[in-house]
């Protein structure tokens, strides 16, 4: 089962995701260049962190128009599993695959630290390996991770179980402590923390392993 890793100009976590999936979990991957139009025989797509197209205009705003993302949109609509990490989460909101937007951190700092998260996996396919209310520790590294959505929409998302990851101690001012969101079908997950950086015991915790492994069956 091959997992596609999207590479934009300015992506910088693509190799980390490859190492986590191949080096740590032993799963084959393939890089998908942003100009490609054919996903081929892949069974999941990961949009990695970084600064796609320099994050000009807004984070993820230009990436959304990459030829490859039309295919990713179709793949997601057909129920294919899609994971957006950090900049990948920003791209998913710009694409409209997930609601809301990610904006400048409340205190303006670029945050690079480990955070505690509370998981409410619901029907999210990427979080099937975690228990309801489980706490895990993952690193964050972002300047624009403050999740923003109108309060009515936030209540709807919470009511429908789409807020699947929350910060135990909100680092960036996100409404509702939102760290990660899934879509109604549960096949798309966007999160600001970096599970791929928590897979190798050599570089810290391994709390991200189950997230990346869950989708692989």
């Amino acid at each position: 089962m091959t997992i596609g890793i999207v590479v934009f100009p300015g992506s910088n976590c693509d190799r980390d995701v490859q190492w986590a999936l191949e080096g740590c979990l032993g799963r084959p991957t393939r890089f998908l260049w942003h100009e490609e139009r054919d996903l081929g025989a892949i069974e999941a797509v990961v949009l990695p962190g970084g600064f796609s197209y320099g994050d000009y205009l807004r984070c993820g705003a230009i990436a959304r128009f990459a030829p490859l993302l039309e295919e990713v949109g179709r793949f997601a609509a057909a129920g294919g599993p899609v994971l957006g990490i950090c900049n990948g989460f920003q791209v998913l909101t710009e694409m409209g695959l997930l609601p809301g937007a990610l904006t400048r951190n409340r205190d303006l700092h670029f945050l690079c630290e480990s955070v505690q998260l509370e998981v409410r996996p619901g029907s999210c396919r990427w979080l099937g390996g975690y228990n309801e209310g489980e706490r895990l520790q993952l690193p964050i590294a972002h300047g624009e991770g403050r999740y923003q959505v109108e309060s009515e929409e936030l209540r709807r998302l919470e009511g429908e179980g789409q807020v699947v990851l929350r910060y135990s101690h909100n680092p960036n001012g996100s409404v509702g402590d939102v760290a990660g969101l899934t879509n109604a079908a549960g096949n798309v997950l966007g999160l600001m923390p970096h599970p791929e950086r928590a897979c190798d015991p050599l570089t810290g915790g391994v709390d991200g392993r189950r997230l990346l492994a869950a989708i692989l069956g």
Partner: protein, 85 residues
């Protein structure tokens, strides 16, 4: 085809926190300008566009502003359009 000059003003919606604007407002005080009660940072985007007429230019710029220049989830935009002479 006639050429049009447009200026698209993108601003954060009132409900969205603007920490960069707040930081700039605080700096205004340190400069000695004490009366600043509100400071919000947006973007001004200048576009030159060829179109058959003003109506068509306006429609294309509306699409551009809605779909690319601004994110309606967090931003509003206004358009100032004039034909180049």
């Amino acid at each position: 085809m006639p050429l049009f000059h447009a200026r698209v003003q993108v601003s954060l919606r009132p409900s969205v926190l603007d920490p960069a604007g707040e930081a700039t407002r605080a700096a205004a005080g340190r400069l000695g300008v004490e009366g600043v009660r509100r400071l919000r940072i947006g973007k001004a985007i200048e576009v030159d566009l060829e179109a058959a007429d003003a109506e068509s230019a306006r429609a294309q710029l509306a699409l551009l502003s809605d779909r690319l220049l601004a994110n309606p989830v967090i931003e509003d935009w206004t358009l100032d359009l004039r034909e180049a002479i």
